[in-house]
């Protein structure tokens, strides 16, 4: 029997040719048998999946089947790999199956599923589309395609939200820098929450402003104090004749004429540009973003301004006829996240103590 032929030697006699034909036929039926066995193993459940893989692999290695049959083998192996969670291998097998037979819709479907698990959204879409070309009514492919579209849309919307939030925060940082304002660490966050300054469509800054009644440590908010507004206008509204007196002000000391506003001078450290950006992004869609491009060439990191709180803080009176911008840009004003102003009354006995510097805001 001329089974082992030396390389380079061709079968010449008829009997040699016959032998080779016989071997081919044997291989062929072996391969088909292995494929059947593999299919059976899959039906038998999880415990037999690796056996199924084994069968398919051996069948593949016979290398005697036609392209379309070989394609089915790869596609079946892909299927089992999917069941086993071997997504990479499943994808490779499915792609091989597609190469051998581009109209193999099952293989295309399996390639799509594998890609989905690998989060290769673009590939999922393209496999689905190819599959639907050959089988336009394939429900599973359609479902997959729809799911991808939905996922993509959601992803894009999220990305858009995040980049809007980042752009908005960067604009705020620019506006703050252009005005030479100094922002320090936020204080009284239990009162201010996540309130932030905003820019209107004319690029004018609007600030939420916290008013603290030092005497009792009660608070009020001016939600929208435009930087070009004067303090007097807001105080006129808050302490107008039609407004009820403050509930804790039993002696009615806090009237429009008797109140004075102060800010704390030189207390704290200025935030660096990137810390400021982080602070402004806190509570927005982009609060989780890892790294943001920040041009730190004029870094004012950690500049410590003079007096720190508790060391006999300096109280600076606010002229009512001044605009918010005028006061905020004072060189000794470090804005604690958002502006905080302390309200006292000339008529109250607390006034003397306050003016003498004996009062310190509680931590």
């Amino acid at each position: 029997m001329a089974l082992w032929m030396e390389t380079g030697s061709e079968p010449t006699t008829q009997s040699e040719k016959d032998d080779l034909e016989a071997i081919e036929a044997l291989k062929h039926s072996t391969a088909l048998e292995l494929k059947e066995n593999g299919n059976q193993y899959v039906k038998m459940g999880k415990k037999h999946y690796s056996d199924a893989i084994d069968c398919y692999t051996r069948a593949i290695n016979q290398k005697v089947l036609s392209d379309s049959e070989q394609s089915i083998l790869f596609s079946n192996r892909a299927h089992v790999n999917l069941l086993l969670g071997n997504y990479r291998r499943a994808l490779m097998d499915a792609e091989e199956a597609i190469k051998l037979c581009p109209t193999n819709v099952k293989a295309l479907y399996r390639a799509a599923k594998a890609s989905l698990s690998l989060n290769l959204l673009v590939e999922v879409k393209s496999f689905c589309e190819k599959g639907l070309e050959h089988d336009p009514n394939n429900k599973e492919l359609k479902k997959l395609a729809e799911e991808i579209d939905l996922r993509r849309l959601e992803h894009e919307q999220r990305e858009a939200q995040v980049s809007r939030a980042v752009a908005g925060a960067k604009d705020l940082v620019s506006a703050i820098e252009d005005r030479g304002l100094k922002i320090g660490k936020a204080m009284f966050q239990e009162l201010t929450g996540l309130r932030k300054p905003t820019l209107d469509n004319n690029n004018i800054l609007h600030w939420p402003v916290l008013l603290l009644y030092a005497e009792v440590m009660s608070s009020d908010f001016i939600e929208d104090f435009c930087e070009t507004d004067m303090f007097s206008a807001h105080l006129d509204m808050m302490f107008s004749d039609t407004c009820p007196p403050l509930p804790w002000d039993k002696e009615n000391n806090y009237t429009r004429e008797s109140i004075e506003l102060y800010y704390e001078a030189g207390s704290g450290v200025c935030l660096s540009k990137s810390k400021l950006l982080r602070y402004l992004l806190d509570g927005t869609a982009a609060s989780h973003v890892e790294s943001i491009d920040v041009d730190e060439k004029d870094a004012t990191e950690g500049l410590n301004y003079g007096i720190s709180a508790g060391e006999g803080s300096k109280w600076v009176k606010v002229g009512e006829k001044r605009t918010l911008h005028d006061v905020l840009k004072e060189p000794n004003f470090i804005i604690p996240g958002i502006p905080v102003f302390y309200v006292v009354s000339k008529r109250s006995s607390f006034y003397k103590e306050f003016k003498a510097g004996k009062w310190v805001p509680p931590p």
């Binding site: 005005r179 004018i204 006829k321």
Partner: protein, 336 residues
């Protein structure tokens, strides 16, 4: 065979100082007449360079040369030629040489040259990234440091240069740039007694307000200087009562509580009203205008106004404010 005229022009470059002196005096005389100007224009390619060289000389030749150039620059074509040959740079260099003695004339020359777009670009130094804006800054500084108190006020005409250049966006951006603070300095000149200076300030502010849409903060945030300059000329002549002034910022309120000189220049009034109009076209501008009690001031000022052009300008702002009223009061939401 050179004509007499050609000889004369040739003498401008003569090595002998007496000859150049005589020649430049004659040329200066010629620039005083239409015919003379026409003849000289023919030989512009020789005359202009020769005259500009004489600018660097002693006052006895630089002064007539400068006068001649000022007269010649009133012609657009000649002005263009001057800009092309770098006259702006030459004028600036000599202007800032100590004791050049012809400052006023050089400034006037620049006024004429900045009537042209090319002249403005040349003065702004737009092509040179490092030097961009340096000439303008120097001129503004000179404008603001000198005053009409001195006998001849050499930098008075910078006022007109500023109005000219602010016709271009690049200049407006430069003037509005808060880091350079040029507009802030210029506005202070509004108190000057020189009508030319005053007009220059109001004209420049008005032009800059064309940037209100994109640069409103740069206008509004110098409010303590801006509002007095814009509101006092159109506040009429009466003394305002306390109810009205209490709603105004101090600079405006205190000025309107006392007797003051009546405003007499309708051109300035129209310009500031146009500036106010441009600012109040913007939401935030309107809001800021209301917050300084601006509409009340216009109301009072309008009562006494007689000049039809000025009245028209008041009315234009008025109707803009009426159309958009109801959204301007500062909103305060109290929350405990």
């Amino acid at each position: 065979m050179a004509t007499e005229f050609e000889e004369l022009i040739g003498f401008l470059s003569s090595p002998s100082p007496q000859i150049t002196k005589a020649a430049v005096d004659i040329v200066r005389g010629l620039t005083g007449s239409e015919d003379g100007l026409k003849s000289l224009a023919h030989y512009a390619n020789v005359v202009l360079p020769s005259l500009s060289r004489l600018l660097a000389g002693p006052k006895e030749v630089s002064e007539p040369a400068a006068e001649a150039l000022v007269n010649l620059s009133q012609d657009t074509d000649l002005a263009r030629k001057m800009v092309e040959m770098g006259m702006v740079k030459i004028a600036m260099e000599i202007l800032y040489k100590p004791e050049s003695g012809i400052s006023k004339l050089l400034v006037m020359l620049l006024v004429n040259l900045t009537q042209l777009d090319a002249g403005i670009a040349s003065l702004l130094q737009t092509e040179d990234e490092k030097m961009n804006g340096l000439y303008v800054m120097k001129l503004v500084r000179s404008f603001c440091r000198s005053s009409s108190e001195t006998s001849d006020d050499p930098f008075e005409h910078v006022a007109s240069i500023l109005v000219n250049i602010s016709k271009q966006e690049a200049a407006r951006k430069l003037l509005l740039d808060p880091k350079r603070g040029l507009l802030k300095q210029i506005i202070r000149q509004f108190d000057s007694s020189s009508p030319l200076r005053k007009k220059g300030v109001s004209g420049t502010i008005r032009n800059c307000c064309f940037e209100a849409e994109s640069q409103l903060p740069n206008l509004l945030l110098i409010s303590e200087f801006l509002w007095p300059a814009l509101l006092l000329p159109v506040a009429g002549n009466k003394i305002y009562n306390e109810k009205d002034t209490s709603k105004m910022p101090l600079e405006v309120g205190s000025a309107l509580s006392i007797e003051r000189e009546p405003v007499t220049d309708p051109e300035i009034q129209v310009q500031v009203l146009e500036a106010i109009y441009l600012i109040t076209l913007q939401d935030a501008g309107r809001r800021a205008f209301w917050s300084v009690n601006g509409p009340r001031i216009l109301q009072v000022g309008y009562e006494d106004e007689q000049d039809p052009k000025v009245m028209e300008a008041y009315e234009r702002v008025g109707s803009l404010l009426v159309d958009n009223s109801g959204t301007e009061e500062p909103s305060t939401e109290k929350s405990n």
